[in-house]
């Protein structure tokens, strides 16, 4: 474990790595890079880049799935990565979000999508509190199995409750209201070089049945909001309290951290984001049934977080992409997908236990340096 963070002695002599070079770039260049990156993400489903684009399934649809996984991973990262609570039943919240959409827009009411999404978030959050309040007092190891049980309880309730559609699920979930601003063409590579194909376009932002790209854009927008939220909250008292609780719960409590309250908060926020992802999923799918919320999904979600590097938001994003994209990209493995996935998990655990992108403290340390300099300057000037 201790190999992940460089000691001061080791840090100084090494020549600046990629990361340092990027962080040292002028601010304007950095902003430009970010903007270019955002545009790239925005256009990704239409660029049809060879090799990256999935052959077996629609790339826009796959990217949307990847985006929901990213969102879920960000939410679960708050619970697992920041607060250190092992949650094996996260799919329960995902299902609750999706079913709130289903019930309120199709099955029992026809409320507007814009109204229902916040309701879905709130209901998922409340269910997180209801589950967390009694169970977060039990030991961490047990929490895993309790949450696993919760995920199953949710699914079985969905299967067996006719009010919620039973095994038939809920269909005809309406599309969200959209607006049509402009069309974006796609790129065609069939002649070997990129050619702009003006006939295959996606409209920003029209939510149809046969074009998943607008849903991907929606998810992209939601992800950036959640990321911003994550960054702001993590770098505050709340984030520190979570980390302290994860590191040493008793010591944190003795340093004045109401650990239970913060664990519950992490659980509720994680649940809310899980519910939001479920809501997006239901919106795009138009049809939901308990089959879409199998226990295996919880495990995949957790794997996304751990594979990427629990505690590092960029890491878990990478993890989510790995877990959701690769099985689609390599559909030709077909029957062997799960086997390969299992092997990958084992190898990763053995050879890179911190995840692909372990939490990096160095960047944060650098920022703290700057802050200190600012403070000293301030004092000097007074």
């Amino acid at each position: 474990m201790s190999t992940t963070t460089s000691t001061p002695a080791a840090r100084k002599p090494t020549s600046p790595g990629f990361r340092e070079r990027v962080t040292n770039l002028p601010k304007a260049v950095k902003i430009l890079l970010w903007v270019l990156f955002a545009i790239f993400l925005f256009l990704l489903p239409l660029l049809n880049i060879p090799f990256i684009t999935t052959e077996g399934s629609d790339f826009g649809g796959v990217l949307f799935t990847v985006a929901t996984y990213v969102l879920v991973a960000l939410g679960l990262n708050i619970v697992v990565g920041y607060a250190g609570l092992l949650d094996l039943g996260y799919v329960g919240f995902y299902a609750i979000g999706a079913y709130t959409i289903g019930v309120l827009t199709s099955e029992h009411a026809h409320m507007s999508w814009v109204v229902v999404v916040p309701i879905a978030i709130v209901i998922a959050m409340i269910s997180g509190i209801i589950l967390g309040a009694p169970t977060l007092r039990v030991r961490g190891d047990y929490l895993a199995i309790v949450t696993l049980g919760f995920g199953e309880i949710v699914r079985l309730t969905l299967v067996n409750s006719q009010w919620l559609g039973g095994a038939q699920g809920i269909s005809d979930i309406p599309k969200p209201p959209g607006f049509e601003l402009f069309e974006v063409p796609s790129i065609d590579w069939s002649s070997g070089a990129p050619v702009v194909d003006l006939d295959t376009t996606s409209t920003f932002l029209k939510f149809g049945i046969n074009d998943f790209v607008p849903y991907y854009w929606l998810a992209l927008g939601v992800i950036s909001l959640v990321l911003l939220f994550d960054i702001l909250v993590k770098s505050s008292r709340v984030g520190r309290a979570w980390e302290a609780t994860r590191e040493d719960e008793d010591a944190a409590e003795l340093m004045g951290v109401p650990t239970f309250r913060f664990k519950l908060l992490a659980f509720a926020l994680g649940a809310a984001i899980g519910g939001l992802s479920g809501a997006l999923f239901a919106t795009k799918a138009g049809f939901i049934s308990p089959d879409s919320f199998q226990l295996l999904l919880s495990i995949l979600f957790l794997a996304a977080v751990v594979v990427g590097g629990a505690g590092n938001r960029w890491g878990v994003i990478v993890g989510a992409i790995v877990v959701s994209y690769f099985p689609e990209r390599f559909r030709e493995f077909a029957d062997f997908r799960v086997l390969v996935f299992g092997l990958a998990l084992m190898l990763l655990a053995i050879f890179r236990p911190q995840g692909l992108l372990p939490p990096r403290r160095t960047v944060r340390a650098k920022r703290a340096d700057d802050r200190q300099a600012v403070l000293e300057e301030g004092e000097a000037s007074v």
Partner: protein
């Protein structure tokens, strides 16, 4: 409810039979948790491989209904040998491949869990893909019956025809019921004595109590851990035999839910506590059956999980308390 009261003994006896299987599988979780403080997520697959070993040995020996007593005893004995060997082997293999490398690197428990989940997928999928895997090496023709339809159920001929022996409250208790319940308890007693009295058993307890002191006192921790996995695996093998005698059908994914239930049983009784596992298994089996009788079988798993949550709320260390080292076992 009326149905439960009318058929109370039927629900009780059948609940105890499946509870015995839970209990034996729960032992594996409890033992490993006791010495390593981690949830051996892949233990369910150890059990599943045992069921297949039991099935295959019966197929190999040409097991069929209505054979003579001597023949049946031989078959059942061979089932035990095969299933225990297979499960024990898989458990030790698991420890070697999925856990030991992590332990050497001092990885956090969460990583061990991920490794275990990976191992669980790999083991289950190998069984689920056995027809294709054996196809590559060209053994398909010889083994066709053993690997056919590998994503589907695999059924075993009934070698012990259930015969009512005596009647309790209107329920005809069969020879299989008695064999499973009594057999499971007997195996538990043997294990209890093994942990209590043998040198290796004392080693297990010492490591469970305090790994560092145990190491100082000359206990070879790696060896103890290996033995713990082996013992847990052998118990799962025994469970697999009982399961096959009672249910008779297995599948590549048969371990998963049963594993979750068994883990629930272990936590119910107090994880790390051997007698707790037995108690937890029986209680879970009963609760599921009673619950199914009252609210319908579709809520069976919900009953089990709600029970678990309630127990953890009101008695967080399980019914009999934790710790392999300190508890009486």
């Amino acid at each position: 409810m009326q149905n439960l009261i009318d058929n109370f003994f039927a629900y009780t006896i059948t609940g105890l039979t499946i509870g015995a299987v839970y209990a034996l599988v729960a032992l594996g979780y409890t033992l490993v948790y006791g010495v390593l403080r981690l949830i051996n997520f892949a233990h369910s697959e150890v059990f599943m491989y045992g069921t297949f070993a039991a099935l295959w040995v019966v197929m190999l020996l040409g097991g069929r209904p209505g054979a003579g007593v001597g023949q049946v005893i031989f078959w059942v004995a061979m089932m035990f040998v095969a299933a225990m060997a297979m499960s024990g082997f898989i458990a030790v293999l698991l420890e070697r491949v999925a856990y030991r490398p992590l332990r050497k690197r001092n990885a956090p428990p969460l990583i061990a869990l991920i490794s275990a989940i990976g191992a669980s997928f790999v083991l289950a999928e190998i069984m689920g893909l056995r027809s294709r895997i054996t196809g590559w090496v060209g053994l398909d023709d010889n083994l066709r019956d053993y690997v056919r339809n590998s994503r589907n159920n695999a059924g075993m001929p009934t070698i012990i025809a259930p015969q009512p022996i005596f009647t309790v409250g209107g329920y005809h208790v069969t020879n299989v019921d008695v064999f499973v319940i009594v057999g499971a308890i007997a195996i538990m007693v043997v294990l209890d004595q093994f942990v209590k009295r043998s040198r290796l058993g004392r080693g297990i307890r010492a490591v469970a109590m305090d790994p560092e002191s145990a190491a100082l006192m000359g206990v070879n921790r790696d060896r103890v851990i290996q033995v713990t996995f082996l013992v847990g695996g052998v118990m799962a093998g025994a469970a697999a035999v009982f399961y096959m005698l009672k249910i008779g059908i297995t599948r590549y994914d048969a371990g998963f839910i049963l594993g979750v239930k068994a883990f629930t049983a272990a936590v119910l009784g107090g994880i790390g506590n051997l007698r707790g596992a037995l108690l937890g298994g029986f209680i879970l089996g009963l609760a599921e059956n009673y619950g199914s009788a009252v609210v319908g079988s579709q809520w069976k798993d919900v009953v089990a999980f709600v029970l678990l949550i309630l127990i953890l709320l009101f008695r967080p260390t399980g019914l009999l308390g934790e710790s392999l080292g300190k508890a009486r076992a």
